[in-house]
């Protein structure tokens, strides 16, 4: 079950890579693969048990999979140190403001839509 679901995921990623090289160099293979799987699910109308199982198992360990790229910080310690305050300040400030902006905007728009639908 798990293997069949995993095969689907890998197949989508591989197809995505092919499309990436052939026609869409600005979108990475995995993202195209995700779109392909999404379109496939739309056409099929439901998520099969193998696919559900595989995606749930993989997504549970998403934080673990992100650790190796995160460790890459150590290579750029010096370059970051040189521009540290500018970079840190800009990253932190823009992050806080844009998180708040996105959350607040979405909440307001949802409330507005709900008011309009239920007068």
């Amino acid at each position: 079950m798990l293997l069949r679901g995993l095969s689907w995921l890998v197949l989508c990623q591989l197809l995505g890579t092919v499309i990436n090289v052939l026609v869409l160099p600005m979108l990475p293979g995995p993202i195209i693969g995700m779109l392909l799987l999404f379109v496939f699910l739309l056409l099929r109308g439901e998520v099969g048990e193998p696919l559900h199982l595989a995606s749930r198992s993989l997504l549970k360990y998403l934080p673990l999979l992100l650790v190796p790229p995160a460790v890459g910080v150590m290579v750029y310690a010096e370059a970051i140190a040189a521009d540290f305050w500018a970079v840190a300040g800009a990253l932190l400030l823009s992050l806080l403001l844009s998180i708040l902006c996105a959350g607040w905007l979405m909440q307001k728009l949802i409330e507005r839509q709900q008011r309009r639908e239920a007068p």
Binding site: L9, I31, L58, L62, L64, Y76, A102
Partner: protein
């Protein structure tokens, strides 16, 4: 009889599984520490990252060697990205109900996040190459690295900014949003996925299925919009 301690140590730290081993160990310890303390600053990704860096420095290993030996883990990042289509699909009905709020937030907040980051770094005096590596900071790292390359930044530096943004966003995001009155799971997920990409999405999944679905949606749409529009925008501005 003398034991070859040195040879054994070298064999251990240069074994192809050493990277996987320390990552798995550090991650499980980080999860245990997080669940015991429930302290937001102990985000598993951040804690494991620090532990792994510490071990690598102590053993005198380079990042390149670690990356090669942890490739078994990194390889699954692709299929995991593809797997995000499933929660996206399962919550499609709710997303469809909130189609316009989602699209408007995505466009406005997405542009805001990108422009604000670059403008602030520029105002604080960062170099051009730093600016171009920072522009795609809010999108998932494979896209960010591609985009940074296209617009004249350094790909791996972009990955680092992406990681820092994601980790900090995941740490402070949920409590900051809740304190400011943003409580709707869709709004929480949207904000986390839009600004803190995969790490934010992983954090949003802990908040619930709907929150996670919107985070995945925001992350993938933000990634696609950035991949297509940011290089175009830079091209027009030059």
């Amino acid at each position: 009889m003398t034991l070859e301690w040195h040879a054994a140590w070298q064999a251990l730290i240069h074994h192809p599984l050493f990277g996987v081993g320390i990552t798995l160990g550090a991650y499980q310890l980080a999860i245990a520490a997080y669940e015991k303390s429930r302290w937001v600053f102990l985000q598993p990704v951040l804690l494991s990252m620090l532990a792994v860096i510490g071990i690598l420095l102590a053993c005198g290993l380079t990042f390149a060697e670690y990356r090669d030996s942890a490739v078994a883990l990194s390889l699954f990042l692709g299929p995991a990205t593809v797997a995000l289509a499933v929660p996206l699909f399962l919550n499609l009905r709710r997303i469809r109900q909130l189609f316009w709020p989602t699209l408007i937030t995505l466009l406005l907040a997405g542009v805001f996040a990108t422009v604000l980051g670059v403008t602030l770094a520029w105002a604080l005096g960062a170099e051009q190459i730093m600016l171009m590596s920072m522009a795609p900071k809010s999108v998932t790292s494979p896209i960010a690295m591609l985009v940074a390359n296209q617009i004249g930044g350094i790909a791996s530096l972009a990955a680092v900014f992406v990681m820092i943004t994601g980790v900090i966003g995941a740490i402070v995001g949920p409590s900051l949003l809740k304190r400011c009155g943003v409580r709707h799971p869709a709004a929480l997920g949207m904000a986390l996925g839009l600004t803190a990409h995969a790490v934010g999405t992983a954090r949003a999944l802990q908040e619930g299925e709907e929150c996670g679905a919107f985070a995945a949606l925001a992350m993938s749409l933000m990634g696609m919009f950035t991949a297509v529009l940011l290089p175009l925008a830079i091209l027009l501005l030059r």
